[in-house]
């Protein structure tokens, strides 16, 4: 029992750390692409750790499955969104760069 809880706490803490890092990245990084990187990669990782921690914490396997599937869906959604935003930005940039260099 004890070990399980310790692992849970550690997982949660690691998750929180990644979230924090991701958020910092969003706030501090210079351009859209790196911000997107921070937001999606780091936060997804963070969410994964937290989900794992919670799944471990909750005894019922069904609930654990639910939590894992939540993580998977979020992963899917965020990576798609990330891709779309990045693509949109790229399309926006190209004609702009062509017209006014620098």
């Amino acid at each position: 029992m004890m070990i399980k809880e310790v692992i849970t706490v550690i997982l949660l803490l690691v998750g929180c750390f990644f979230f924090l890092a991701g958020t910092l990245g969003v706030l501090r990084f210079p351009d859209l692409f790196s911000r997107l990187h921070a937001l999606t990669k780091a936060d997804n990782l963070g969410l994964g750790f937290i989900a794992a921690g919670m799944a471990l914490h909750i005894a019922s396997p069904w609930a654990a499955l639910k939590i894992i599937s939540i993580w998977l869906f979020t992963l899917l959604a965020s990576s798609t969104t990330c891709y779309l935003i990045a693509r949109f930005q790229k399309e926006q940039d190209q004609p702009k760069n062509g017209k006014e260099p620098g």
Partner: protein
């Protein structure tokens, strides 16, 4: 500890609301609005109102947020009052003008502050009216469902709910009216991105199933027609975004049938039982459960359709050529 969480959440909600209105850029406002909606949803979870939380997150924050987000494409993103004020400071038009603007604002601010104090006193001192929990518990077995909120929505206060479904349809009609154009134009074709389309195709059945689950689960726990409708509506919106304008491929009458089915069936069922001598929306307890499920399903379909169409039509507006102004 729990008080601390609530306190933090309350402060966060208020902060987000304030920031949302004070944000420099319109896009910031909209994103903060999403955050505000989610914070509010959390608050409702804390208050034990899971149904409300789902509805809030799905409709108020989700659907409305999407609409706002979509609207950002229209409005120039940088405009906000603060920037205008900045401009005004940089080259003040005249001292009197700013003064005359300042004074009413100050008065309004003071008035609001005073109003806030009175409001706080009033809500703080609210006597305990006791609510209707006991009454709802007592009558729950007769309602045909086990979840009290669903019982209130679809049976005890079915009239309100029916009117509300009407309001959604009305909202759609109103948006048509705002367009100033003829009814039922076809939604346009959105951007086609292969990845997006694949993801949409993948999530459609998942969302559909989840919606159906919520709908059925509403009988016993948090969930029900509105929550399901939003999920299904989300399918419609995503399909629309992915370039499958659902309502464009359906025949006109079918689209209209889907839109009006919930409201119409709800009412016709009510009238049928009224013809039997009962009151409007009075269901025999034995059949109440199944009837409510049918009504809910149809309502969810209609609402989902309405949400999709609302999105499609608002989305559509900008492509529409300028209407000729009609003379009154």
């Amino acid at each position: 500890m729990s008080v601390l969480i609530d306190l933090l959440l309350a402060i966060l909600t208020v902060y987000l609301a304030l920031q949302c209105l004070l944000a420099q850029r319109l896009s910031q406002s909209v994103f903060l609005f999403f955050a505000f909606g989610l914070a509010l949803a959390l608050a409702w979870v804390r208050l034990g109102a899971v149904d409300v939380a789902i509805t809030e997150a799905a409709i108020a924050a989700g659907f409305m947020g999407v609409l706002f987000l979509d609207a950002l494409r229209d409005f120039s993103p940088a405009v906000s009052e603060n920037q205008e004020d900045l401009k005004a400071v940089q080259n003040p038009p005249s001292k009197n003008a700013t003064k005359s603007l300042l004074l009413p604002r100050l008065a309004l601010g003071l008035g609001l502050g005073l109003f806030l104090l009175i409001a706080l006193e009033a809500v703080w001192k609210t006597p305990d009216g006791g609510g209707l929990t006991a009454a709802a518990v007592a009558l729950l077995p007769e309602s045909g469902v086990e979840h009290p909120v669903t019982a209130v929505l679809l049976n005890f206060r079915a009239y309100d709910t029916w009117l509300e479904i009407g309001v959604i349809l009305l909202g759609l009609l109103a948006i048509y009216a705002a367009g100033g154009i003829n009814l039922y134009r076809k939604p346009g074709v959105a951007a086609k991105d292969p990845l997006l389309r694949q993801v949409i195709l993948f999530s459609t059945p998942v969302l559909f199933l989840f919606g159906a689950f919520l709908l059925y689960f509403g009988k016993t726990g948090p969930g029900g027609a509105f929550q399901a409708a939003v999920l299904w509506g989300a399918i419609g919106i995503m399909l629309h975004l992915g370039g499958w304008p659902v309502f464009a491929v359906l025949p006109r009458w079918l689209g209209q049938l889907i839109l009006t089915l919930g409201l119409g069936f709800f009412l016709v069922l009510g009238f049928l039982f009224m013809a039997r001598g009962d009151a409007l929306f009075e269901y025999p307890p034995a059949y109440a459960g199944i009837l409510i499920l049918i009504v809910e399903t149809l309502a969810a379909i209609s609402i989902a359709a309405a949400l999709t169409t609302i999105y499609a039509n608002i989305n559509q507006m900008q492509e529409e050529p300028k209407q000729n102004e009609s003379t009154t």
